[in-house]
């Protein structure tokens, strides 16, 4: 499916290129609304800053890994992501005395869909990351080296093992990781999408 990027896709590209000039526009134009929302809902400006940064880093990863194309205006998409992230954060902190002042931002179906796409991407990303950490230290090290350095010959050399052994170990560790992901509750929730 060929998707036509929205003109705001420049912000996604700026994330990929770490272009601080364009990125500063995001803060200049869009952060104000998010900061107000967080402050009005039991948070402070530090919280807002964290929420904004985490959201942008997630979008960065999605763009890098999945070639994410923004097909709707950035404003509503970004605002909704930050807002939901803040609500999640409040839940995590066990704050039950939340009074959510909900502003009625109208969003289109397309925007909703892009938001969801990003959220699912993040959930998967987090799941993989947490399961990776459950692996033994040896597996973690081997896989890390493998994915950083593409050539298995080099990996074997660095780790001081034979090529055949490195290959075998790699699929074993990946197999273990596959099992961990497959057996997790989160995976079954994600599958429902």
């Amino acid at each position: 499916m060929i998707q036509k990027p929205h003109e705001d896709h420049i912000y996604i590209e700026a994330l990929l290129k770490n272009d601080s000039r364009v990125l500063s526009k995001i803060y200049e134009k869009f952060s104000h609304k998010i900061v107000s929302y967080v402050r009005n809902n039991n948070g402070n400006s530090d919280d807002a800053q964290d929420i904004i940064q985490e959201t942008l880093v997630t979008i960065y990863h999605q763009a890098k890994e999945k070639n994410f194309i923004l097909t709707c205006p950035f404003d509503a998409y970004f605002y909704l992501l930050c807002k939901r992230r803040w609500l999640n954060e409040l839940k995590k902190r066990g704050n039950n005395r939340v009074t959510i002042s909900d502003d009625t931002t109208s969003i289109t179906e397309e925007q909703e869909q892009q938001v969801e796409e990003t959220e699912i991407f993040e959930k998967q990303h987090q799941l993989f990351e947490s399961k990776f950490k459950e692996l033994g230290a040896k597996c973690q090290e081997l896989l890390k080296t493998t994915f950083k350095i593409k050539s298995m010959e080099k990996v074997a050399e660095i780790l001081g093992v034979t090529y055949g052994y490195a290959r075998k170990k790699k699929s074993q560790c990946m197999g273990k990781l596959t099992q961990l992901v497959k057996d997790s509750n989160e995976f079954h929730q994600l599958k429902a999408y």
Partner: protein, 246 residues
Amino acid sequence: MKEDSYILFDNYLNKELSASEIISFEEKLNSDADFKQEFEIYKSLETSLTSKFENEEAEKELKNTLSKLGSKYIKPENSIKKKGKIISLLSNKKFMVAASIALVIGFFLFNNGDPVYSDFSNHNALELVVRGNNNDAIIKAQDAFNSKNYKEALKQLTVLSETSNDDTEIELYKGICYLELNIYVEADIIFDAISSGNSTFANTASWYKALSMLKQKQFEACKYVLKTIPESAAEYKQAQKLLKKL
């Protein structure tokens, strides 16, 4: 699933199978749902982890840019209330009391998830008096720091560090200011330099390096640094406490 399957997945993704092996592999994908599911997970993991580790450096750089922009464009409510994520959430008096008791005891009952920076960032007051010249800057730096006005403190400390060469304490407090202002690159450079030296502040600098990692949510790195703090250090107890929470 058998180990052979994973080797097969790897070979298939690396395009190392012969034509006939590919055909039988793809046939199995179509007929065996379990096999297919595992293959899909394996493939996603491979893409996801490759992307993650390949871009680790780029991600760090992006975060630095974003932190700088964040502190530039998002102004704190006011400098005194700036910190204290927990306190501000629990503005209700009853909760305040409970929260401070919990903090004193050292159990962070309100925070079941990952520990947060503000739980551990109780800085010792800056006391630079009895230091000869530069009195004006010293007093200004001290007052600003002790009233949590880190921007001003940083300014004054920078003035001081230019006139008094290699004063480790001033450097350390500059680092703390950077850390409070979320300017991590500068903060980490300072802490690294001090902790690798052999001044009396080396362990304190390691502790702050760990706090910086904590604030940046790099929990593994944080743990790693904490483990380097020796039992003899004044920060040992706090370090162990934080380690337990991670």
